[in-house]
Amino acid sequence: MAVEKDLKAILRNLKYSDDAKVLAQISENTKLVHARMAGITHKLVVMSGKGGVGKSMTTVNLALAFARQGAKVGLLDVDLNGPCVPRMLGLHGQSLTMTPEGAIPPVGPLGMKVASMDFFLDDASPVRWKGPMDVSPVWLGLMEMNVIREFLADVVWGELDYLLVDLPPGAAADKPPVIAGFIPDLAGAIVVTTPSEVASDVVQKSVTYARDIGIKVMGMVENMSEYRCPSCGEVNELFEGNTEAMCEILDLPLLGRIPFDRKLARTFDKGEPLLDETYPTIQRYQEIAGRIRTLIDYKKVLADKL
């Protein structure tokens, strides 16, 4: 009869070695992300717990605002299943150029570099993965996180002042805060909400979760604050909420309010974004970008002005 072995005692005397080189490769992959991100001064993610609040519109316009202020800007759209940034910027149909040094991103308006899952998809094609586990949620989660890792490690961004990352919607135990955690030296997260109470409720949960995992939440942007009539210019409220009070409770600065602007939205829908910096809604994005810069330089501002 075989002698019973005590596995715990055996393992105590053994030294682990990574002879299949799995850990070494995972560590190498992480180093690649760090190396690629090293040329980027400020990395910001734009997130929200709620879908449909206008994260992509906000991300794109903030990126354009930074570019308009003379900064070198990159925009990474990691909403893998609903990528829309290329279409908004008139880049739909273009693709990343694969080179031995990495993937060169297309350049959009105001010299902005853009990477998105959309560049891998045909018109009207959803993201579909091949293989035996194509419908397994566990595998899909793992797969998507590694696709995002490839976006961070393989795109040749070069030297940038700002990289803005448009995260997919989702609140707590979901991808967005985890994706943000992938990005080395992240300056922080900009949270987008609408004044709707339902949106506020979900958004505050995502702020709490992001903070729990150590992401610095920089401030809140209230989108769809009001509706500006394209005919008469009259402005009316769309929701009866109070984002200011939510920011107070969450101890977050309200970075600005953006009206629902049909004229501006249409230009992005057509892929011919309005770039006129004198346009009132664009001016609001410019102000928010200025406030984000102040927040990034928070310590300097306090040292200078106090």
Binding site: R128, P253, L306
Partner: protein, 252 residues
Amino acid sequence: MKFVCLNCETYMNFEKVEKPGEGTLGVFFGCPSCNAKFSMVTNPGETQMVSSLGVKLGGRTVEAEPFEMTRGTLKDEALTGPSQMAAYLNEKIQGGQPAVAAATAPPAAKPGEKSSSGCPFSAMVAEMGLTSSGKPDNAGAALSEFAWSPDAKEKLDRLPSFVKPMVQSSVEAYARKQGYKTITLQVMDDSKNDSSNGTSWTPEAEKRLENIPDFIRPMARKEVERVAKERGMATITAQVMDDVKEKFLKFM
């Protein structure tokens, strides 16, 4: 994943990987002491889980190409019929027999259980504390020992439901401390500037705080109060402001 040779009480060494069939891997291990060999064979699902880590078992022999995994795994066209893994399981477990379709009818409500109307919005409305008319349900409002002026009450009622109790309690705590019986808009505004840790500010320090852009002023106020608390000071003076300024100059 490691394997232990129980005879020799040592880890077995990874030796090589082979592909014995489509979608499967044979991973070979050998005991460095007794030279025993064995191979672990993965099913297609396990194979794909490993490849999704972005690693090659045994290490890479050629450099990874940009977006190697993304491009290699994106499906060109939709598969028709069941997925490969489902087909594999069907083959291995049910011998290729079609599985019995799951009942699609929703389960009946248990006796005594209130049956749902199925309307997703009614649950949402209830969660928001609204009545069927869309107006807030007063049952959600906390009873108050204070009289609220109509405009202050209206401002409070416009807050999101999860914020309202916190604001109400904070304003009332301030009013209690000040000996007020009625809460007006002015009291609400003043309560915002009330320091919860009992710190007071000299006019000169308050004036200097106004140099900070208004949207980050509350953050700056907290930072100054934190430094004062660390130093055991109950009043924010120009000296405390200088100390905070000095602290941040060190980061420049």
